[in-house]
């Protein structure tokens, strides 16, 4: 069954949370999405919260700091800002902002309360990180939002439910008072139509399984699932007929040897010498020398066909989630800044911005 198209579905969204299993490229997708959102002349903030400095590498800029910093100026007058949210700085800023505790914050630091809050008491970290993202999303200048959109490169799918729902825990812990109010406001933003949690995956079993699990978990705790972004999609390199033959193990070595001969390749094994014309070697000897190469190519073809088949299965599983499906191509040479713009364009074309 076809998945709905995302066209325009996220126009109201102010906070885009991007998660995915490790290795699926969620940071790349978050960066491309932020560029796509900024392309129309908008101001966008891209946040990372895991201290990995993945964004700095992608954009080829010096390490990101807690202070927001402009890292790209997409065409059309857009602005892309970025920051690495760090719990300790977030806590001190929070104390200063809400309680005007410039010096008292130092007292807390001296007795170890700040260290306790940001490292020993494990969950507070997430409270502080989500709190900072909330603040940036809600910040206003003269009545208008400071950022048109905020993109969060969030923790991986395995942790996303707990990470986003941590303020619900806080509401459970603090029955009254300022902390409860703050946590309550964060939860209402996260549960509103202004937030979308996008799930990044690749067409492999485990990431797709985790995507399913995360979608179910987010649904259960009432957080809005946005698009499913299928990253690193590779086009089949074999024709449907060849795929079918490969799947059945019916690729003929003789035929491939003939093809290789026609291509002028010789087979000094599949090893070093493979390549130049057969020269003086007899035709049948040349053909048998090509067999190992043909066999190796067929084995790779079968592997490829198996992969294509498994990918189709996974695509069907993702379609059954009934969320907008967006696809991004695999880039053979890896992701650099130019590639990010290309991916941003693909996201824009598929209605993500």
């Amino acid at each position: 069954m076809p998945a709905p198209s995302p066209s325009g579905a996220f126009r109201e969204v102010r906070l885009h949370v991007v998660t995915g299993k490790g290795g699926t490229g969620k940071t790349t997708v978050a960066a491309a999405l932020a560029l796509a959102l900024a392309a129309g002349g908008r101001r966008v903030l891209l946040c990372e919260v895991e201290g990995r400095q993945g964004l700095a590498q992608l954009f080829d800029v010096p390490q990101l700091a807690y202070a927001e910093h402009q890292i790209a100026r997409p065409s059309g007058g857009g602005e892309l800002w970025a920051q690495a949210v760090e719990p300790k700085a977030a806590l001190l800023e929070y104390l200063d902002l809400f309680y005007h505790l410039g010096r008292a914050g130092k007292v807390l630091e001296r007795i170890g309360a700040i260290d306790f809050a940001t490292t020993v008491a494990p969950g507070l970290r997430d409270v502080l990180l989500t709190g900072k993202v909330y603040e940036a999303t809600r910040r206003r200048d003269r009545g208008a939002p400071h950022y048109d959109a905020v993109v969060l490169d969030a923790p991986p799918t395995g942790r996303i439910g707990h990470f986003l729902n941590v303020n619900e825990e806080v509401v459970g812990l603090a029955k009254v008072g300022p902390i409860r109010n703050q946590a309550g406001s964060i939860m209402s933003l996260l549960r509103s139509a202004q937030t979308a949690v996008h799930l990044v995956t690749v067409l492999e079993e485990m990431p797709v399984q985790e995507t399913q699990d995360a979608a179910a978990e987010l649904h259960r705790i009432g957080l809005p699932v946005g698009a499913v972004v299928v990253n690193m999609v590779r086009e089949p390199l074999l024709s449907p007929a060849a795929l079918a033959a490969a799947a059945k193990g019916r690729l003929s070595v003789t035929k491939v040897v003939a093809g290789l001969t026609a291509a002028g390749l010789s087979g000094h094994g599949a090893g070093r010498g493979a390549g130049r014309g057969a020269g003086t070697v007899g035709a049948s000897a040349a053909r048998s020398a090509l067999r190992p190469l043909a066999e190796a190519l067929i084995a790779e073809g079968m592997d490829h066909a198996e992969r294509v088949r498994l990918e189709e299965d996974q695509r069907a599983v993702l379609a059954s989630l009934q969320r907008p499906l967006v696809e991004l191509p695999a880039l053979a040479e890896g992701v650099d800044l130019g590639a990010l713009y290309l991916l941003a364009e693909r996201l824009g074309e598929q209605g993500m911005s």
Binding site: G22, G23, T24, E50, R52, G54, Q57, L95, Y99, A104, V107, L108, R110, I111, G112, A113, D115, T119, P122, G123, R125, D126, P155, P156, R159, V166, E169, G172, L173, A174, K175, V176, G177, I179, E205, Q209, L237, S239, A242, K255, V256, A258, A262, G264, G269, A270, G271, G273, A274, G275, P292, A296, L297, A299, E300, E306, L310, A332, E333, G334
Partner: protein, 407 residues
């Protein structure tokens, strides 16, 4: 195999009776859990080891392949082990970590039943033991400490290992995050926390009988208490105080346990394996792990590079394969059969060209790693089309890890 790197001899590592603990760490999505399981199976089947593997959050079908139907925090024997060594006798137990239960057990072991009840009922404890990031890392190491203690205390190698805990090899998977190395910081963190003034401040009301605690602490701490009351509110501070007071007795033993586990990790019988994939991010993380382990003087055995694109026809370069495919596509005419042969061969050459491009990119990334860490031995494991669902799949990976030809 990258020329500069030494090969990691997995079989020698698994066969060596001096290897008692193997910790697999690395970023998410690199097949760490599968690697842990494959190593455990190979150690049991090929080297006669009595192995227990502790997995964290395994994929469902991988868990099923080892007969782990549920997360119950107890090592269970894995069925279907086929020892291949003459000495035989290898065994494999597997378990999944239940972090809340592990945390509860620690509390029960160190607090009186009444106090334990108090702690379990506290909302801070409930939040911390179930959902907060970081707890998993602490608890994985706690469980490792428990397994090791059980293994050391076990009298013999007779009977089921699961019953008497007589494992001679413990393999641990670590949680998939950068904080996977957080356990290295646990003793120090707990130490500085326990010796700090915060804990004294927080536990003061309980010790002073719940009243006028400001009088028993210094002025600086007093003003800090004021600040905390203002920030947190009275109710949350009270809950936190009750929590800390209740945990007071347990905390000391917590630190001791964390320190013991830390020492255990530095000992000779422990080996760390960093697991990665030949991708930019994963290798960057691997570098971080390698350097961090070095700083902490933790024994690193080597790097396992999963999901590598290897080829049996490495002599045919991507360029030459692509050019040959183009040549074939340019040829006109010939009988239908001839043209079908050319078409098929051309597409297979394109598949090969694609694989070789990946291979070359991966080699370049890998040699950057080996350039920075020339002393770290490594082994490459080829990418599989699908996931592992059974013991045979794990055996195949084990062969690949040991660099044994496909069987």
């Amino acid at each position: 195999m990258t020329a500069a790197a030494r090969r990691l001899d997995i079989d020698a590592l698994l066969a060596d009776p001096a290897t008692r603990v193997l910790v697999c760490c690395g970023s998410g999505g690199v097949g760490k859990t599968t690697t842990s399981a494959a190593l455990a199976l190979r150690a049991a089947e090929h080297h006669g080891r009595h192995v227990v593997v502790l997995t964290i959050d395994p994929a469902r079908r991988l868990a099923q392949s080892m007969g782990l139907a549920e997360l119950d925090n107890t090592p269970r024997p894995v069925d279907g082990i086929q020892p291949v060594t003459a000495q035989g006798g290898g065994r494999l137990d597997a378990m999944m970590l239940d972090m809340k239960r592990t945390f509860d057990e620690v509390i029960l072991a160190h607090a009186s039943p009444e106090k334990a009840e108090q702690i379990f009922a506290n909302p801070f404890y409930q939040a911390m033991s179930t959902s907060f990031a970081g707890t998993q890392e602490y608890m994985a190491m706690e469980k490792l400490g428990q397994l090791r203690a059980a293994a050391d205390a076990a009298p013999s190698r007779s009977g089921s290992a699961a019953e008497d805990g007589s494992w001679d090899l413990i393999i641990v998977d670590t949680p998939p995050s950068r904080s996977a190395l957080d356990f290295l910081d646990a003793p120090q963190r707990l130490g500085s926390f326990l010796d700090g003034r915060l804990i004294r401040l927080l536990s003061a009301p309980a010790k002073a009988g719940g009243r006028a605690y400001l009088k028993v602490v210094s002025v600086a701490v007093g003003s800090a208490a004021g600040v905390m009351t203002k920030v947190l509110g009275a109710q949350i501070l009270r809950d936190l105080q009750t929590f800390v007071a209740a945990l007071d007795t347990v905390f000391g033993s917590f630190r001791e346990r964390a320190e013991r586990t830390y020492d255990l990790l530095q000992q000779k019988g422990t080996a760390f394996l960093v697991v990665a994939a030949p991708e930019l991010d994963a290798l960057r993380e691997a570098s971080y792990f390698v350097e961090r382990l070095g700083t902490e003087r933790m024994p690193l055995a080597g790097l396992v590079l999963n999901r590598a694109h290897l080829s049996r026809a490495e002599g045919l370069s991507a360029e030459r394969a692509a050019a040959a495919a183009e040549d074939l596509e340019d040829v006109e005419g010939g009988a239908g059969e001839r043209s079908a042969e050319r078409e098929l061969t051309a597409s297979l050459l394109r598949v090969h060209a694609d694989r070789m491009r990946r291979h070359r990119r991966e080699q370049a990334l890998t040699s950057r790693f080996t350039g920075a860490h020339p002393d770290v031995p490594l082994v490459e494991v080829g990418a599989l089309a699908g996931d592992v669902h059974d013991l045979d799949g794990l055996r195949e990976i084990g062969r690949s890890l040991a660099d044994e030809p496909r069987g």
